[in-house]
């Protein structure tokens, strides 16, 4: 599902912001937002947004890499994290953006090649017929398994998640950065075309791998190794192609995480040196040598921070961090970006307050949501309640079993009825107990798991409101020059 939405997010990014971004920006999206506004406050706010998005996303990736290495090579988690962080630092430090672009390309080829091979070998077992595969799935599990969107429980939550992933993709600093690293607008468009094509193809492959592994490996084994089901593809590879194929796919998975980590590090380094150091501390007056030096220091700092945070979050379910990164990108970065491009009356105060609002609302609402408030903050209490309910259910089962055993054929009709009545009252009694236990379940303060819809709305509203009460004639006047450059790229070559 995530991939599917990112596909839509990328295409929307193409339609709405690819040309303006390419024409107005050089290194970071703050270049674009601050084009006609006051540099320092915007760069400070935008950098804060980018840095927080990068660090949340990075910690999730680090923990993922650590778990993968631990499972594959049997190394301790801490050492796995230190290796990943160390490689990341060396890599970005010595080879920089050109190398990361190459990692992306090699990763994409390996990933698509590996997944295609896995799918071909899987489908070989089903005579290359999806009908056969699905029949097998239906036979082994149930029809429910084949119905889409089993995870989506609340429609509002689904829309909110969709919005965050969609506009978050168009607001993630390491994705936006890709628009600046291509030689011209045509190349930017072309790469979006390839990316959406690959993502779409890959999405179809992963669905096949998911069903194939459910049949050939089995749900119980997959969930037994990793509750999130993340190890489905490697396990399928092992069943189909033995250890060699398993090793190959693990290497591909590691390369994928590594490519994302390297991209994130670059986004961090440029936000830190270009926006915070040059834009805010040095007020735009710094040599490129200085800028590069600060970027290198920032890279080392990030590597160490990521290692420490990765170890801190060991054994935690970090999936929510990815959601948080997308929610912040969609609420802090995207509204400010789109308003600065499209709305003449947007002001510095409006941009800064919009970014800060999006950032804080997204973080606060996520902390108050079931994901963090119930599953993490009140984890003990939640597990205790769940255990209690399970205990009640099992107790009931045992009692019913005992009572049913008493129903021997030589009993009179009345006696059997009496036993049935006892069973019924036991059932009612346990229902009541379960209800009482459920009442003790910790309740989230904010009901949705995905705050995106509210934090985005808040960022837009505050941005518009503050801009209207603090008009900025200077910025309005400059909008026409920005517009010329935004649409035609005149002046972008300087």
């Amino acid at each position: 599902m995530d991939l599917f939405i990112q596909l839509v997010g990328l295409s929307d990014g193409l339609f709405l912001i690819s040309e303006p971004l390419r024409n107005l920006g050089k290194y970071t999206f703050a270049d674009v937002v601050s084009y006609r506004l006051k540099q320092r406050p915007i760069r400070a706010a935008a950098a804060a947004g980018s840095l927080i998005v990068v660090i949340t996303y990075l910690v999730a990736q680090m923990v993922g890499a650590g778990t993968l290495i631990r499972l594959m090579f049997g190394l301790p988690f801490e050492i796995a994290i230190i290796i990943t962080g160390g490689l990341m630092i060396c890599y970005v430090l010595f080879w920089g953006i050109v190398a990361t672009t190459w990692v992306q390309i090699i990763k994409a080829c390996l990933l698509l090649g590996g997944a295609t091979l896995l799918v071909v070998l899987t489908m070989l077992q089903f005579g290359f017929s999806y009908g056969e595969l699905f029949k097998k799935v239906e036979y082994l599990y149930s029809q429910k398994f084949l119905e889409p969107g089993g995870l989506v429980t609340n429609p509002l939550d689904a829309f909110s998640l969709g919005l965050a992933l969609m506009f978050g993709t168009a607001g993630l600093p390491h994705i936006l950065m890709r628009f600046f690293t291509v030689p011209d607008v045509k190349a930017a468009r072309k790469s979006v075309f390839y990316a959406t094509g690959f993502i779409g193809y890959f999405y179809i492959l992963t669905v096949t791998i998911g069903f194939g592994s459910a049949v050939l490996v089995g749900q119980d084994i997959i969930k037994g190794i990793d509750a999130g089901g993340n190890m489905a593809a490697p396990l399928l590879a092992e069943v189909i192609g033995g250890n060699i194929f398993l090793g190959f796919l693990s290497a591909v998975a590691f390369a994928t995480i590594f490519a994302v980590v390297a991209g994130l590090t670059l986004a961090w380094a440029s936000a830190f040196s270009h926006d915070l150091y040059v834009g805010v501390v040095r007020k735009g007056e710094a040599s490129e040598i200085d800028e590069v030096r600060v970027a290198k220091v920032a890279t080392i700092g990030l590597g160490i921070t990521a290692i420490l945070l990765g170890i801190l979050f060991k054994e935690q379910n970090v999936a929510f961090l990815v959601g948080l990164a997308f929610a912040i990108a969609a609420s802090a970065n995207f509204p400010a970006l789109i308003m600065s491009l499209m709305w003449k009356k947007f002001t510095t105060a409006g941009a800064v307050s919009s970014i800060i609002t999006g950032l804080t609302v997204a973080i606060v609402l996520l902390i108050l949501s079931p994901t963090v408030w119930v599953d993490i903050v009140h984890k003990e209490q939640k597990l205790a309640v769940e255990k209690k309910i399970k205990g009640i259910e099992e107790g009931l089962k045992a009692k019913i079993y005992e009572l049913e055993k008493q129903k021997t054929p030589d009993l009179k009709q009345e006696q059997i009825t009496a036993i049935t009545m006892v069973i019924d009252s036991e059932k009612r009694n346990s229902e009541k107990l379960k209800k009482e236990a459920k009442a003790e379940m910790p309740q989230p303060i904010f009901p949705l798991r995905n705050p995106g819809i509210f934090s985005m709305a808040a960022a837009f509203f505050i941005g518009i409101f503050v801009s209207l009460i603090s008009p900025d004639k200077e910025a309005e006047k400059k909008y026409s020059t920005e517009k010329l450059r935004e649409y035609t790229g005149i002046g972008a070559e300087d």
């Binding site: 939405i5 339609f15 084949l146 689904a158 969709g162 075309f193 959406t196 649409y487």
Partner: protein, 106 residues
């Protein structure tokens, strides 16, 4: 004969530039809108009309109607990017070039 070159201030009032901006906005909005309808239509079906997606495509098949719909949604959104890029590369860039020539810069 060489036409008179326009200044940056003049080009902002130029008809060609104005139509360029209008056309670009219209096309961008149109494609974004289509993509949003496509995507939220699909999410809406999952959220509100699951029974429809759970229908079998034929009596003796296990494939539900949701699967081809999902695949088609992906293909269609890819097609949209392709059409947009075709438009941008052949028409939009051409118009941009016209405006650039008028201003006398590169």
């Amino acid at each position: 004969m060489e036409k008179k070159k326009l200044s940056k201030a003049e080009i902002l009032e130029d008809e060609d530039f104005k139509t360029l901006v209008k056309k670009k906005n219209l096309v961008s909005m149109f494609f974004t809108f289509l993509e949003l309808i496509l995507y939220f239509g699909f999410v809406g079906l999952i959220a509100y009309n699951k029974p429809f997606l759970s229908q079998k495509i034929s009596e003796d098949s296990a494939i539900t109607i949701g699967i081809p719909i999902a695949v088609l949604t992906i293909l269609f959104s890819w097609l949209l990017t392709a059409i947009y890029i075709f438009w941008a590369n052949s028409y939009y860039d051409n118009d941009v070039k016209k405006v650039k020539d008028k201003i006398g810069g590169r």
